[in-house]
Amino acid sequence: MTEFYGYERPDRSVGVRNHLLVIAPIDCSFEPARRITDQVENAVAVTQHHGCGVNEMVVNTLIGVGCNPNVAGVLLLGLGCETLTSEILADGIVKTGKPVQTVICQNEGGTLKSIEKGAHILKKMTQQTAETRREPFPLSKLTLAIECGGSDATSGLAANPATGIAADMLIDEGGTVIFSEPQEMTGTQNILAKRAVNEQIAEAIRRMIDHEEQRMKAMGIDSRFITKGNLDGGLTTIEEKSLGAIRKGGTRSIQGVLENNWSRLDKPSHGGLWLQDGTERDIPSVTHMVAAGAQVVAFTTGRGSTTGHAIAPVFKITGNSETYARMTDNMDINAGAVIDGSETLQVVGERIFNTIIEVASGKKTKTEALGYRDFAVFARDRIAEHLLGFC
């Protein structure tokens, strides 16, 4: 039985990092929020750029991120006049039992006073949460998010199938895996629906992909066609292209579609493989899987992506040995040996699985070593969704 070493939170969830999170509910108060984190270890500031009105998708995501077990405590740093108030977010996060406090710039009397007060609060929180020690936990407490970006011809051949093997291994030991990017599932409605645990979920999978195809159509893109570059690279059909992308999630049954809309943001209710109705944009996609509870992110790439995440460790897997050698700052695992035939997918898959456990237990990824703090919130255009009949 494999275990990982994490930090138990009051709600019994288990963090793999001990971050203190400063959330500016609106970007107007992000700069003081960021400056507070300059003064406190393990503190990170995030915000969103969708305006200060209440967009429930934004609210649900920020609450989800605050509730993520990698976050030990939260400071809300509001401006004061926003409709999306700090109270709305605090109410959603405080249920986890972790410390949540609020500083409002307009009430404190400006930037410097807010920074001073916020820094004091965070320092206290640091001392409070630093007492938490890593302890062993079963993999049923671990949720992995899988993302891909900057793909090339090696992705569907090496990095994605090898990561899929690791996903299967994690699930077989009781773990949870989420993958998203419905735009990359085009043409695989029936293939994925066949793997659903029941007909209701099969229907939800078909609906999610159909909706994504309709959104693309509304933008003037026919999602069923593949590009000349894809064809030259050896991809023959849209099914093949999409299967190469979804193989990164492995081969296990699909437990459900995690909705992310104006009424709710779903989290996996039990172990196994879950799809998220999210976005193909890498950073917001990772944020949304983190909001659904993912603690670790496996990221496959071909040409070489550099992105990380503010609160979840992200490690990179490339099937392109040249990229691995050239971008050694950014690449964690080389799956390229599959291409030259010196290693099997199984062997690389096992290495990825071991890396998931090591990273969950505290090993720093390349993006962490570089201090990356990528964060972006994805929100759909409600008017467009309404016109398409989706809400």
Binding site: R224, F225, K228, L231, E239, G341
Partner: protein, 102 residues
């Protein structure tokens, strides 16, 4: 020797991992790394392209990733290059098929 990888044990195509000149023998590796076939290339096969692991009749499913990626639009011989000239998507009818530039 030139290599091709079978990604799933159910696959009836494998992907070559480097450019294969015409007439060269290809070693096909199963997901567990076992050599399962050594077909000869009938023509040049570029990196990332596929070869057939069995003789396939017209209309037969082309299986990669353990799933159907399309249907044979004509009969295909073992070792033959498998691409748009002998496969069509089951999702996009051939009559509608067009190539869009990236």
């Amino acid at each position: 020797m030139k290599k091709a990888i079978q990604i799933d044990e159910k696959d009836n195509v494998a992907t070559v991992t480097s450019e294969v000149p015409s007439g060269e023998t290809i070693e096909v590796l199963s997901p567990k790394g076992v050599v399962i076939l050594k077909p000869k290339a009938f023509e040049i096969i570029l990196f990332g392209h596929k070869i057939a692991l069995a003789d396939l009749k017209r209309g037969a499913p082309i299986i990669k990733y353990g799933e159907r990626i399309g249907l044979a639009s004509r009969s295909i011989k073992i070792g033959e290059w498998v691409h748009t000239h002998n496969v069509e998507s089951a999702v996009v009818p051939t009559s509608e098929f067009k190539v869009e530039d990236a």
